[in-house]
């Protein structure tokens, strides 16, 4: 038992799980009926836990893509802007006709916004893999230009879509208990875990993240691996863009996906994946994303307004990264050693 406990604390999941646990405990005490889940009249599940998972969905999806990018030693700060482009694409293609008749078929719109995400990934991938430009700089380009492009597509307007089925993505498909976004997230997570387990792409990604030159000499196609992770990240952003757009049933080029890249990076680091690349932890990332959303929901529940939320978020982030740091671990070890010494001293004195 003690061993189990110990190995838990040594595992990479310990910290994010503990953070989540503390948050949940806080909620259990201070928020009434936090864990209550009901079935609504229309057959949908309702309750705070469901709500948290539902709202965390697009962040989870983004973070999955980000995890792989960060594991290769890169970063993709353009995902927020890609979310905006993707949701703009979908809304523009569906059109803002008040009668609710879409300008183009729904599946075309969906495919196009996913395609736009992939296209963005190809762009980033080209810069990083082909031109060997630092990931942060390379994706900065799309981050800067991306919102401009989205605004260009919507002509600076907020396009509201009246086509009914569009709302299903961000809401519920009639007759299904769980929110669609959650289902999409679950499917994506399952897909990623399947790929992680059943192919060796994980090994390739980690090798590239740790030592790209040596990986190339071992026959790994580094360029292809880098391309793949950025395309996947773009695809994830495309997915998240659909969900975000559907949530408000509109394309808001200025605010869709705003700061989401930051949240996604946070989720990945909270999950224990280091920003320098190498080992990655899918489970950690998912828990990290849920933790961030739980924090947000909790703060709303205790009455902190949305624009003040960042302050609380920041303190939590800073605390967690400090606790995760090597230096802190070392300090803790020293402290423990000192205490042991002290105790031994006392005992000796008593004797």
């Amino acid at each position: 038992m003690v061993n189990l406990f110990r190995s838990f604390f040594k595992s990479s999941l310990a910290l994010p799980l503990m953070a989540l646990f503390v948050l949940l405990m806080f909620n259990a005490f201070f928020v009434d009926d936090f864990f209550k889940i009901e079935v609504m009249e229309n057959g949908n599940l309702y309750g705070r836990p469901v709500d948290i998972l539902y709202r965390a969905s697009s962040l989870i999806i983004l973070s999955l893509g980000m995890t792989f990018v960060i594991a290769t030693g890169g970063i993709d700060i353009s995902v927020g802007a890609v979310v905006a482009i993707s949701s703009a694409t979908c809304c523009v293609l569906l059109g803002g006709d008040i009668s609710g008749i879409p300008a183009h078929p729904f599946f075309v719109a969906i495919l196009c916004s996913l395609g736009v995400g992939i296209l963005a990934g190809i762009w980033n991938g080209t810069l990083v893999a082909k031109f060997k430009i630092q990931a942060m700089v390379a994706t900065l380009i799309l981050m800067t230009a991306g919102r401009g492009i989205a605004q260009l597509m919507t002509d600076g307007q907020i396009i509201t879509v009246y086509y009914k089925p569009f709302a299903y993505i961000g809401g519920n498909i009639p007759g299904v208990m769980l929110p669609t976004a959650m289902l999409i997230a679950i499917v994506m997570v399952a897909l990623v875990i399947f790929i992680d387990r059943k192919t060796s792409i994980g090994l390739m990604i980690q090798s590239v993240g740790i030592n790209a030159t040596a990986a190339r000499y071992a026959g790994i196609k580094v360029t292809a691996v880098l391309f793949a992770v950025y395309i996947f990240s773009g695809f994830c952003a495309g997915c998240a863009g659909l969900i975000e757009g559907s949530l408000i049933r509109a394309a808001d080029a200025n605010n869709a996906g705003l700061n989401m890249e930051m949240d996604a990076i946070l989720a990945v680091t909270l999950g224990g994946t280091l920003m320098v690349g190498g080992r990655y932890y899918i489970g950690g990332t998912i828990i990290g994303a849920i933790t961030i959303q739980t924090l947000t929901t909790t703060m709303y529940a205790v009455g902190v307004s949305s624009d003040r939320l960042p302050a609380v978020k920041a303190i939590v982030i800073l605390m967690i990264i400090v606790i995760q740091s090597e230096k802190f671990k070392q300090m803790y070890q020293d402290f423990k050693a000192k205490r042991l010494n002290h105790d031994a001293h006392k005992e000796a004195e008593n004797a």
Binding site: S200, I210, N211, T213, G219, K221
Partner: protein
């Protein structure tokens, strides 16, 4: 102790513990004023630990260090540097983005009348220092990364001299230098010696040690073995003291019987050219043959290997594998033709440091099979265990991170990685660089055995002629990116290879 004054440094009864391991046991080390001493020992003997204790990277557990008549306790590299103990590492520790002058004077720049950095004076001083003490005449306003590694090392030495160092530690300085550059370094070392500076020279090249050093201190397994005048210690004795066993007279020259090449060629090239790297190369390598590429560093010997493997792409010419012309776009193409390549720079091109030994071993095989045909964990374990056992790789278990292994064992893991792909042509580029003598012999023997027993073609590249003499049944000599000649069977000797490289010997066959 009457001769106390002669010694600039005395380290007495040094003990040093790592958690759970005793790294140094009662080691003593004495250094006279104005002498060049070599610290010898196999990997893990404690050479670098001892140096790190002296430079303050590690802290000794017991013992005392007397430097220049005073007892000292080095705490940090910087502190010992300030006392006059400077180290020039193999990887140059300077800032590549700053100018040469700054690299010499940073932190103690000359000031002008209003307290700012006086650039003209600094540059003038730097030029003068480089020219006066080392005889180097270069543009000091250029950034450091404008110059080759050898020059950067000289600049690092200049910096050490100018900080008035009394002891200069040169840690494997020659492993990336060409012969000419090494000679130049030796000239500088001699003149420093005359100026009264003591030098600790660490190198794996026995020849060089016998050329330049006055005395040798030998360590083995963290213990002190002895101090010897160089004249009184024949090479063979040095090696036996380092390895802790008697070496037969002939053993170091040649032991295993060489492999006999089979009739058919495995790989052939005709008029292959890589701009600026390889010129008009035509060669053939037979099955079961160990071929050596001899040449100076930068002669193009590694580049030829990289061209054969596909990490470097030819611009013209053809390559044939088993008589069939192949097109190469990436290493994968050659891996599919059963070519394997252990690159020169183990740290940068070889190991994936944060991955386990198991993952490092299966990596190339996995890459070859493609990411979608995943090797099951059970098979990975089996493969890893098999090669750990076969090559006698010293690991605690297969999940140990490769970065925590010694250099020799890392090299073995890389070789295992390629053996796992069942290659027909194995290219070993400097497989024994920076590796202790024992492992060196093991790797040499392995190369010959593979060729003999499995009919594998092996390319052996090394800067040490002796190694090639021991292993290769044919040696191709490369100079200025051109294959100048080939030496066969009996012609292969250190002297012949050297002469061929220098252009004085053209071989019987040509």
């Amino acid at each position: 102790m009457s001769d106390c004054e002669d010694y600039i440094l005395q380290m007495r009864h040094i003990d040093m513990f790592f958690p759970a391991v005793k790294a140094l046991k009662d080691v003593s080390f004495n250094l006279k004023k104005g002498e060049i001493i070599s610290l010898m020992g196999e990997n893990g003997a404690g050479k670098s630990t001892l140096v790190k204790v002296l430079t303050g990277v590690y802290h000794k557990t017991n013992g005392e260090i007397i430097f220049d008549g005073n007892k000292i306790e080095p705490t940090t590299p910087l502190a010992s540097q300030k006392m006059g103990i400077s180290t020039v590492y193999q990887e140059v520790n300077l800032c590549a983005n700053l100018s040469v002058a700054e690299n010499i004077y940073i932190g103690r720049e000359p000031r002008n009348s209003i307290g700012g950095i006086d650039w003209p004076t600094m540059q003038k001083n730097a030029s003068k220092l480089l020219f006066d003490s080392l005889g180097i005449d270069i543009d000091v306003t250029k950034e450091l990364n404008f110059y080759p590694v050898a020059m950067q090392q000289m600049i690092a030495i200049a910096r050490a001299i100018d900080t008035k160092c009394k002891i200069l530690i040169l840690d494997e300085p020659t492993s990336s230098l060409s012969d000419a550059e090494t000679q130049r370094l030796f000239k500088i070392m001699r003149s420093l010696k005359e100026q009264g500076i003591s030098i600790i020279f660490i190198s794996h090249f026995l020849e060089q040690i016998y050329t330049i050093c006055d005395r040798i201190t030998i360590l083995r397994d963290g213990s002190y073995i002895g101090e010897y005048e160089i004249e009184n210690l024949p090479k063979i004795e040095l090696i036996s003291k380092m390895m802790g066993k008697e070496v037969k007279d002939g053993e170091i020259e040649s032991d295993v019987e060489k492999s006999k090449p089979r009739a058919n060629n495995y790989i052939e090239t005709s008029h292959v050219t890589v701009p600026g790297k390889v010129k008009d190369l035509t060669l053939d390598i037979k099955e079961g043959e160990v071929v050596g590429f001899a040449g100076l560093l930068g002669s193009g010997r590694s580049e030829i290997a990289e061209t054969l493997f596909g990490t470097m792409l030819k611009s013209s010419g053809d390559i044939y594998v088993e008589g069939v012309k192949v097109s190469i776009k990436s290493p994968m193409d050659m891996m599919k033709h059963k070519v394997a390549f252990c690159p020169e720079d183990r740290k940068v091109q070889g190991i994936i440091g944060d991955l386990s030994v198991r993952e490092n071993i299966i990596l190339a095989l996995q890459a070859k099979m493609g990411m979608f045909s995943h090797i099951s964990r059970a098979r990975q374990n089996k493969l890893a265990d098999y090669y750990i056992d076969l090559l006698r790789i010293k690991v605690s278990d297969r999940e140990q991170l490769i970065k925590n292994l010694s250099g020799g064992n890392q090299q073995k893991v890389i070789i295992a990685r390629w053996l796992a792909t069942q290659p027909s042509l194995l290219i070993l580029d400097e497989p024994t660089r920076g590796i202790d003598v024992g492992t060196k012999t093991e790797i040499e023997n392995l190369a010959v055995t593979l060729a003999k027993e499995k009919g594998m073609s092996v390319v052996f590249i090394s800067g040490e002629m002796g190694e090639m003499v021991r292993t290769c049944s044919r040696v191709m000599v490369i100079r200025d990116h051109v294959k100048v000649t080939e030496l066969n069977d009996d012609e292969i000797s250190t002297a012949h290879i050297m002469q061929a490289i220098a252009g004085d010997y053209h071989g019987k066959s040509v």
